[in-house]
């Protein structure tokens, strides 16, 4: 408007920024392209540099295999089986982890009663539970969901506890001198105050539950992307292994993205970061 000099300064400053904004995606895409080329060359020349590429499928083989697999219905059965287990396990872990975490963080009594067993079991990797899980649960599906739940549960519960304990006591005081009772404090202060930490827990938990799901499927599954990938090795379909791996990677990435987007939507007060680190 009338303040041309004021407007001028940031506009000039923005020019190099725009250039950087254009260059960075190109750099990143080139980086990925370079990896693909290296992979292609290694398989093309059957490199044998202690690590051996003779049996490794080339990017082209994998692409052909992927087109074939995604054109057939049977591969989707595996994907859907894995997705169902992950969301079921993750949902159970969220309800249990957030619920227990809030109670443990809020009440010393609950912390003394409920926390010791959690602390005791936490160092055991979820995959180590697979044999016991097969014995405990009547179906293959329920035992794999159990492992998935277990993996997500610990990061969620610990981050929730951490979030509740980290709430500024002054905010609790402020609420009480504005007339808030215990229930209102929990709803209006504790829950939103712990939310950023809870979302971090969900994000970490989602990653861990994918690791657990794939491991459990490889060991004891009859369906699922993990099972598919392991079986492909057994039946010497090496391209399918890589398609399975990439599918797992993409699904895991999309799941984390969903958590991040939902989290950002639930916490509009946090400053927006364009590049929230995964």
């Amino acid at each position: 408007m009338g303040t041309a000099p004021l407007v001028g300064a940031p506009a000039d400053a923005a020019a190099p920024l725009r250039l950087a904004g254009w260059r960075r995606p190109v750099l990143r895409a080139s980086s990925i392209a370079l990896c693909l080329v290296a992979w292609h060359v290694a398989t093309l020349w059957d490199l044998d540099l202690y690590v051996r590429f003779q049996n490794i499928p080339s990017p082209g083989d994998v692409l052909t295999e992927a087109v074939a697999l995604f054109g057939s219905a049977s591969f989707y059965v595996h994907i859907l089986a894995s997705l169902e287990r992950i969301w079921l396990g993750f949902a159970i872990a969220t309800v249990l982890g957030v619920g227990l975490g809030l109670v443990i963080g809020w009440s010393t009594l609950a912390a003394d009663v409920l926390f010791p067993p959690i602390e005791l079991l936490r160092p055991i990797p979820a995959v180590a539970w697979v044999p016991i899980s097969i014995m405990l649960w009547p179906t293959e599906r329920s035992s794999i969901v159990f492992i998935t739940t277990l993996g997500a549960f610990f990061p969620i519960v610990l981050n929730t506890i951490h979030g509740v304990e980290g709430i500024d006591r002054q905010l609790v005081r402020a609420a009480t001198c504005l007339g808030a009772g215990r229930a209102a404090i929990f709803r209006e202060v504790v829950l939103p105050g712990a939310l950023p930490s809870i979302v971090t827990g969900l994000s970490v938990g989602m990653g861990v539950s994918w690791i657990c799901l794939i491991s459990a499927e490889m060991i004891s599954g009859q369906f699922g992307v993990g099972y598919f990938t392991w079986v492909a090795y057994g039946i010497v379909k090496y391209s399918q292994i890589v398609v399975g791996m990439l599918t797992i990677g993409v699904l895991g990435m999309l799941s984390s993205l969903v958590i991040r987007l939902v989290g950002a939507r639930c916490m509009p007060w946090l400053p927006r970061r364009d590049e929230a680190g995964a």
């Binding site: 002054q170 005081r173 402020a174 009480t176 001198c177 504005l178 007339g179 209006e188 939103p192 007060w269």
Partner: protein, 265 residues
């Protein structure tokens, strides 16, 4: 009823904190009465227990001995009749400015339309109309404190407790906030108990200044400030103000010196 609300009676208050077997006596034999609608400043060296007195009136800290009575009721726990404005960072970061100011009304079960109406009135009183939808993190420190004041006043408390509310602000903003507070207080007549270590601030704002001793704190002197109201900022350059300041300064320096040299009990 409204005309008599806001009488604080603090009688022989003593507060002892026990930490790790170590006893810290923050306040001893503290007595102070305010009349409804009065503005009293609690002034003293740091660590003299002035915030502890405020916390006892708020109900955050139980008296070890003595008692705190507000309008005939003994203080036992925090309540909406005694709102506190903290030094900083006391707004709910996840609530918008409007929702922060509405908080007390929401706790009283007032419908959303009515509380939005009332909250907006107090926001414009502190000069923040138009910032309803902002989050506290998007405001400057001075603006956040103004929201904190509006949040307490919207609750129509009998007593507004202020714990060095402008202590974290720069000098310019602090001066503007002091003038704003006097303007708001003229509109919303409520008893104010204002803790500060700033002598100018205490005299400029208060009807009476309670100078506290070093820890364990008690009232050393109660000095009435007869400067006429409304008080323009220029009042701090008048001879009357200077005379008062000299008197208060002498007392505060004596107590600060004592706080430095006093052996631990």
């Amino acid at each position: 009823m409204d005309t008599v609300a806001g009488r604080i009676e603090i009688t022989d208050l003593g507060v002892v904190f026990g930490r790790d077997g170590r006893r810290v006596e923050a306040v001893r034999g503290f007595t102070l009465m305010t009349t409804p609608g009065e503005f009293v400043a609690l002034l003293g060296p740091s660590g003299c227990g002035k915030t502890t007195v405020l916390n006892a009136v708020a109900g955050f800290v139980p008296p070890t001995v003595g008692r705190v009575v507000v309008d005939g009721e003994r203080v036992a726990e925090p309540g909406a009749d005694r709102g506190m404005v903290f030094q900083q960072h006391s707004l709910f970061p996840w609530k918008t400015v409007l929702a922060n100011v509405e908080f007390g009304l929401k706790m009283r079960g007032i419908g959303s339309l009515e509380r939005s109406l009332q909250a907006r009135r107090y926001l414009s009183l502190v000069g923040l109309a138009g910032f309803e939808r902002a989050y506290p993190g998007e405001l400057s420190g001075g603006m956040q404190q103004r929201v904190g004041i509006a949040r307490v006043l919207a609750n129509r408390p009998r007593v507004m407790l202020m714990d060095e509310p402008f202590g974290a602000l720069d000098a310019q903003t602090r001066l503007a906030m002091q003038e704003l507070l006097l303007g708001v207080w003229r509109e919303v007549r409520t008893t104010v108990l204002f803790v500060t270590h700033d002598i100018d601030e205490a005299i400029f704002l208060a009807d009476r200044v309670a100078v506290m001793t070093a820890r364990p704190g008690q009232v050393r002197d109660l000095i009435p400030v007869k400067l006429p109201r409304p008080r323009p900022a220029e009042v701090i350059a008048t001879a009357e103000f200077m005379a008062l300041k000299g008197r208060v300064l002498a007392q505060v320096r004596e107590e600060s010196g004592r706080a430095w040299t006093a052996p631990r009990p």
